[in-house]
Subunit: 338 residues, 2 copies
DNA sequence: CGCAAAATCCGAAACGTTTTGGAAAAACGA
DNA sequence: TCGTTTTTCCAAAACGTTTCGGATTTTGCG
């Protein structure tokens, strides 16, 4: 592997000059620059980023810390879409991304910030970790610039991008209310997700504004899991037969709920209306197609990457909130009279 | 950021001793080792992998070069699944993965092997690049250990993992033949994919063994794209009304074909049977559910990572071929009499 | 031509590790 | 006690860059 020294030797100049020539500094004559360039090309030279990073004290890599890269998560390719967004932005810069996954054996031994510090990443994007994750605070409190996805923590070194969850949820519930539903349940995620709290709040706001009382026992947690949501829904709908509609905090859980309803012999949307959240790919393919609140996952990743790079260039940490959109499909209908 | 020197100073020993203590060498007394460990913990020390990599001449990172991380590829999360497999295996090792994506602006300027050499990755996994990609040969001819996915090139430094494409395709077509179909078309990918050639061969083998003549004009290329496949299928089925079944080299193209058929007023499977390839998530959710040849994408990634790490430990490059499985759903039926 | 200014170049230190070859200290056996 | 072995430690070089401060050469101008 050819180094800067080899080039220097071949060109009859010092390594300093080679370095400065290759990096486009002004104090090297056009003639020697050309000679150095030619030799570099001829010797098939590639700079050693490790050495460069070591002395420059910046690695030009960002860490991408995701939790959703599991075998079971292919249905809910939320993670993949934000990764694509991140990747898309980063591809336009001179950074590269290094992938860390939580829920690995490695992560049991090393904390997130250890991983980041060891690899000397310049910044990190966090997605999909719970708000009660002990390691979350650690990385946030470290001096590594980071941007969080769907976790509202901010300082001069940490920003976040999220969507207008309360408004999104509100729109979903208002849609149900407009269809005449008054007995509305909610399948929420879990208490350790910011978005769950927000969506719950949206639920309440919509109900309150419509003067419809909220039945607390109709609000259950599905842990963002299709299976758990199915089980919880099964209990819920056997116990409370008045429910005519349910708002789910994720499409995946909505799918679980649909399965439960089918088992119970209840039809969607004739007997009960369902609206989900996320607009995952499957939402438009299941039957009946799922009415849901769409959020642009790709853009979330893209914005996160953009913000992080901005921060690395010296700009301030921000918070960006993306709009959501209610997309009405076939899983919601007017409430039956009676 | 605390370094090994800081620890040495604090412990009153040399950096050599600190290094050896931290790395578990035998020639340091238990007493000083303990002292060093304690100080390291107390100072919140993280080793600088960059410096280590530089001197050790290995970075403990592998490059993951994928092409399918595009916004439009969410439907066909092939890429994501193999990434998950790769990640799953790597998580158990002390390697990390750095993500390169082709079809970026960066890649226009730098070749794959340049990217790899600059970052000093120890090995690389390639997925989704075409066989005529000029950069493919470059990385294969470089001395970087690599494993290819679905590209049959082998040397002492490069292995690959693939599936039994000809057998898989054969099973698919035999399934159609057993249902009585004799007028079978094929929607292939493109000429620059190894799998296309293999699946075409499987198609021929099945037809030949059944003594059913192959109509060459019934074999068209859909470029692995849903839209293009739809257009090609539209032409095909308007021109040749005898066709009663079609084998598609990917599920995504099968979806396109289904759309074309719907436009033409042809029912699946009553009028024409379809079998796809891949078993993407959507396959079981579309209506009618798609009969297809399933390949374990997760395992492909897992095996690729496993092989690469093996190679980095000194073992030989291999080739592993995974089994496929025909999963019969609703899109195939017995041919109509008449 | 001579001198100041501008343009080019270079030596050496630094980044944080690992490793080699050997030195010092401790333990041991007689 | 002394010599020998074993244990424990260390100084220095090396990895491939960048950069500081200064040295050398060229150019410009009167």
């Amino acid at each position: 592997m050819t180094t800067i020294k080899d080039i220097a030797k071949a060109a009859g100049v010092s390594v300093t000059t080679v370095s400065r020539a290759l990096n486009g500094y002004s104090d090297v004559s056009e003639k020697t620059r050309k000679k150095i360039m030619d030799i570099a090309k001829q010797l098939n030279y590639s700079p050693n980023t490790l050495a460069r990073s070591l002395v420059m004290n910046k690695s030009k890599t960002i860490g991408l810390l995701v939790s959703g890269m599991t075998r079971s998560a292919v249905k809910d390719n939320f993670t993949f879409e934000v990764m694509t967004g991140v990747n898309d932005y980063i591809a336009k810069t001179d950074y590269d991304v290094i992938l860390f996954n939580t829920n690995s054996t490695k992560q049991r031994e090393k904390t997130y910030s250890q991983l980041c510090r060891e690899r000397r990443v310049d910044g990190v994007i966090l997605q999909g970790i719970k708000t009660d994750d002990p390691y979350l605070t650690e990385v946030v409190e470290s001096d590594i610039p980071c941007v969080l996805i769907d976790i509202p923590i901010q300082s001069d070194r940490v920003g976040y991008v999220t969507t207008d969850n309360v408004h999104g949820a509100k729109k979903a519930v208002q849609h149900l209310l407009e269809l005449g539903h008054r007995h509305i349940a909610m399948m929420n995620g879990h208490d350790y997700a910011f978005v769950s709290k927000q969506r719950l709040q949206g639920f309440y706001e919509a109900m309150d504004e419509a003067n419809v009382p909220v039945q607390k026992e109709w609000i259950v947690n599905g842990e963002f899991s299709e299976e758990i949501a199915e089980a919880r829904a099964y209990e819920l709908f056997t116990k409370h037969q008045h429910i005519t509609a349910i708002f789910c905090a994720s499409d995946l859980m909505a799918l679980g709920v649909m399965k439960a309803l089918k088992q119970l012999g209840l039809r969607v949307p004739e007997d009960v209306s369902i609206v989900g959240y996320d607009d995952i790919l499957l939402a438009s393919y299941v039957s009946p197609a799922l009415t849901t609140v769409a959020q642009n996952k790709f853009q979330m990743g893209y914005e996160a990457a953009s913000m992080l790079i901005d921060m690395l260039e010296g700009n301030e940490a921000k918070v960006v909130t993306l709009r959501t959109q209610l997309v009405v499909r076939e899983s919601t209908a007017e409430v039956k009279k009676g």
